[in-house]
């Protein structure tokens, strides 16, 4: 089976103005969403408490809200269904310092009389730890970006590195925009997903760039857009295939992996779609915008090869004792 004919060539660069325009709109919209709606920080970063309760029959959320209303501890608490009608999540902004009598214990006490239930999960993060986790999270995003940037700059020419970072920022921005739009609770797992997108998006871009780098040397045409078009086309099957397999796998995770893993899977889904799009329609056009002197590059390569050959010759002569 083949998705794309070997002989067919696609002119992606002709569309580049349109796609870059679309991308700019998407990224701007994401930032607007981020500033207007903001991110819905979960307890990991905002601090607070989550209590997951499972009843042995469908939970009467209205009654539970009524019961908890009078209790000052549960002031401003949100109570929502979680995964199934039997399960609810209670979210509080507060936390407690007492080890022997914590929010979980208080919840057990407060819920008596609302039916048979079991407290399945308590996540409580104090304000200090929340701040630390947030700082660490931001730090890890920055460090990973820097690490990858250094690697790409080392392996490729600087224009490639900058173009891939632009694609990366594009992907992460849109993923964060989606988190803001759907008010997905941002916890440590979502941060892990964002870091994975970081690696994944670059992964895709690098494979296209690797091909462009190869194409610059091998493809006869000296016109950059031709070289890029051919290289992108050659990697099209791979890009589509890998993205599809990864996408379907994450999709099963999203649908069947359980409620707790949902936010993580959602973030990855967005990242995979955007990451695939950007490696074809953002990273390569940006490279085209930068302009790349193919003839100069080839000349430099030839020069380098010549010097190498020169050196080899000298060495050979030296070893033979003729110098």
């Amino acid at each position: 089976m083949e998705f794309f004919k070997y002989t067919k060539m696609y002119d992606f660069m002709k569309m580049s103005k349109k796609t870059i325009f679309i991308s700019i709109i998407m990224v701007l919209t994401s930032y607007i969403l981020l500033f207007v709606d903001g991110l819905n920080y979960g307890v990991d970063f905002a601090g607070g408490t989550i209590v997951q309760v499972k009843y042995d029959s469908p939970a009467n959320i209205k009654e539970i809200r009524e019961t908890l209303k009078g209790d000052p501890l549960f002031k401003g608490a949100s109570i929502t269904e979680f995964g199934s009608p039997e399960e609810i999540i209670i979210r509080l902004s507060g936390s407690s310092q007492s080890i022997s009598n914590d929010v979980g214990d208080a919840t057990t006490k407060a819920l008596t009389g609302t039916g048979n239930f079991e407290i399945r999960r308590v996540d409580m993060v104090g304000p200090k730890v929340g701040n630390e986790l947030r700082e660490q999270g931001l730090m890890s995003l920055i460090l990973a970006t820097i690490g990858i940037l250094i690697y790409v700059a080392f392996r490729f020419e600087w224009r490639f590195a900058v173009a891939s970072i632009i694609a990366l920022v594009h992907d992460i921005s849109i993923a964060i925009g989606a988190l803001a739009l759907f008010q997905i609770p941002v916890n440590l797992d979502v941060l892990a997903a964002l870091l994975t997108i970081l690696g994944y998006s670059l992964n895709d871009t690098i494979i296209v760039f690797d091909r462009i780098r190869e194409g610059i040397v091998k493809i006869k045409s000296a016109i950059l857009s031709d070289v890029i078009n051919e290289s992108v086309t050659r990697t099209l099957s791979r890009t589509t295939l890998t993205s599809l397999t990864t996408f379907f796998v994450v999709l099963t995770l999203y649908f069947f992996g359980g409620e707790i893993i949902n936010a993580f899977a959602f973030t990855l889904l967005v990242g995979i779609i955007v990451g695939t799009y950007s490696s074809i329609f953002v990273a390569s056009p940006v490279l085209l915008l930068f302009g790349f002197d193919i003839k100069g590059y080839r000349a430099r390569l030839a020069e380098k090869a010549k010097r190498e050959a020169e050196k080899e010759k000298m060495r050979a002569q030296y070893e033979q004792g003729t110098v």
């Binding site: 399945r120 440590l188 994975t196 992964n203 494979i207 359980g258 707790i260």
Partner: protein
């Protein structure tokens, strides 16, 4: 026409054998062999980050300095006046300046103490350096104490470790019920500070009319009864002795067969206790636990031997927990909760089930897809994929890594990403076949041309995973671990392993010439 063995296929076979052998104990739940540990989010359990109120350790050290001074002056018949302990210093006046050298000598024996003397007025405090030292000790001691208590509590493999400068990580896997969890939390957090204090009999009658400030003027404190609300006691502020001199505590029973706690003191404690009881026959002694009076027996005679009892409304298990807490020592400073994550075992089981469904579902889908798209080349890629899965599990088992829920997600994701290398290689081979080169050349060139792309792609993902491991906490670390192992293993299976298989099959492929069958390419070789 034979299938040739080559070094790649041999290494691949060894890797598969390794994967099968070391993942078997975990997969089949064998008795023997290293197994993967399930994270708290999958097996259920309690994770806590605790802080230590180190400033209180200073206060309690100062109090114990005051106790020593008082006891020393009593024994040596040195008259002191205005002995008091505040938050940052102990002060007193020596009435007879001839006694000052003896006091000086005694104070020299106390570590880290700074002595300021203005004539007969003494100010005792701790320098900034000493304060830091005491705070560090308080954290160390808290870790040690909590560890001791949990060891005696009888849970499997509790973890108590320092995290960062001032936090304590406590992990208790395998807690089954909410009651057990609460009991463990109570045991950990209990200060278990035992003090024996003298009741101020002179003013005891007026305790209900007295304010805390007035009591302080007399060098007394007002304490409440542990069990009867509203009942108060007026006791001397500086305790006779405290739990630091305790050598043992155990559960016993009184005449009515109700549980109580027997404790014994070390020789110094026994001497102080003996001296005090000898001088105070007819007065009451308050047994104070964590700032509440447990009982106030009247001293009938001098009590030598250094043993005593704590009575209260105990059940056997609560008396037992208290005895454990007393034996393992008091916490020098109170501890508090900074982060808590508890997962019930049923939720953990649900999470395992759900992520297994996702793993199997995703896996089957990828496998079918690869076969449909690439035919035999797809089958070869799938062999690598399965091998990859076993190797991930084997490496995790060998290193005792913990499998968490995000870790499961990592494995699922690896399935999607591990085929990438084979997709890249297969696409390259197809291209070369279209260009009409020989099958041998298509395979060799396919591998060598795909290599740089695969390496670059994997290394960038690996960089992200390593950063995630370094900065991630708890469950998220598990994700970084599985992703990293998966990437490394895929280099072995997807690059080396599949190459070996192609080499082995090469003569067969050349003979059949059915490229559609082997590579899913509609072209004759």
């Amino acid at each position: 026409m034979g299938m040739k063995l080559n070094y790649r296929i041999v290494i691949f076979a060894l890797a598969i054998a390794f994967g099968l052998f070391f993942s078997a104990p975990s997969l089949l739940q064998l008795e023997k062999g290293a197994k993967i540990t399930l994270g708290l989010d999958l097996q259920g359990g309690l994770h806590m980050l605790l802080g230590v109120k180190t400033e209180e350790a200073i206060v309690s050290r100062l109090k114990s300095v005051a106790s020593s001074v008082k006891h020393f002056s009593n024994r040596e018949d040195i008259l002191l006046d205005e002995l008091s302990a505040t938050e940052d210093e102990v002060s007193f006046v020596v009435l007879d300046s001839d006694d000052a050298p003896a006091i000086d000598a005694m104070l020299k024996g106390i570590d880290d103490l700074t002595v300021n003397r203005e004539g007969e007025l003494y100010h005792l405090s701790f320098s900034d350096e000493a304060v830091l030292k005491i705070q560090a000790q308080a954290i160390e001691q808290a870790i040690e104490t909590i560890r001791n208590r949990l060891d005696q509590f009888g849970l499997a493999e509790p973890t108590v470790a320092r995290q960062g400068e001032e936090k304590i990580l406590v992990e208790l896997p395998g807690i089954k019920t909410a009651e057990d969890e609460k009991r463990a939390r109570e045991l950990i957090s209990r200060a278990a500070k035992l003090e024996l204090m003298a009741v101020d009999e002179e003013r005891a009658m007026r305790v209900y009319q007295m304010s805390d400030a007035e009591a302080a003027e007399y060098g007394d404190v007002i304490l409440e009864d542990a069990e009867r609300p509203g009942v108060k006691y007026l006791v001397r502020e500086i305790p006779i002795l405290d739990g630091g001199m305790l050598t043992d505590a155990s559960v016993g029973f009184n005449q009515n067969n109700k549980p109580l706690i027997n404790f014994s003191l070390d020789s110094e404690g026994a001497q102080i206790f003996g001296d005090f009881t000898g001088k105070n026959v007819g007065n009451r002694l308050a047994v104070v636990l964590d700032g509440k009076v447990m009982s106030d027996p009247v001293i009938n005679e001098r009590i030598g031997g250094g043993s005593g009892q704590i009575s209260g409304q105990y059940t056997v298990s609560s008396a037992n927990d208290l005895a454990i807490a007393l034996r393992s020592g008091a916490l020098l400073a109170p501890i508090f909760l900074m982060e808590k994550r508890s997962v019930g075992p049923s939720l953990g089981a649900d999470s395992i089930k759900a992520s297994l469904v996702a793993l199997v579902g995703g896996f089957v889908m990828v496998i079918l897809f690869m076969i449909v798209y690439y035919r035999v080349a797809g089958v070869i890629a799938n062999i690598a994929l399965v091998a990859n899965l076993f190797i991930i599990l084997a490496v995790m088992a060998l290193f005792g890594a913990t499998l968490t829920l995000p870790g499961m997600a990592g494995i699922v994701l690896t399935v999607g990403m591990a085929v990438d290398a084979n997709v890249i290689i297969s696409e390259r081979i197809r291209e070369f076949l279209y260009q009409g080169v020989s099958i041998h050349k298509a395979i060799e060139e396919g591998y060598s041309n795909a290599m740089s792309a695969i390496l670059d792609a994997n290394i960038t993902t690996l960089i992200a995973a390593v950063v995630l491991y370094a900065y991630g906490s708890g469950a998220v670390k598990g994700f970084a671990i599985t992703i990293s192992i998966g990437i490394l293993a895929s280099m072995l299976t997807a690059i080396l392993g599949t190459h070996g298989i192609y080499e082995m099959l090469e003569s067969k492929i050349q003979k059949s010439k059915d490229l559609n069958f082997w590579f899913g390419v509609k072209k004759e070789a």
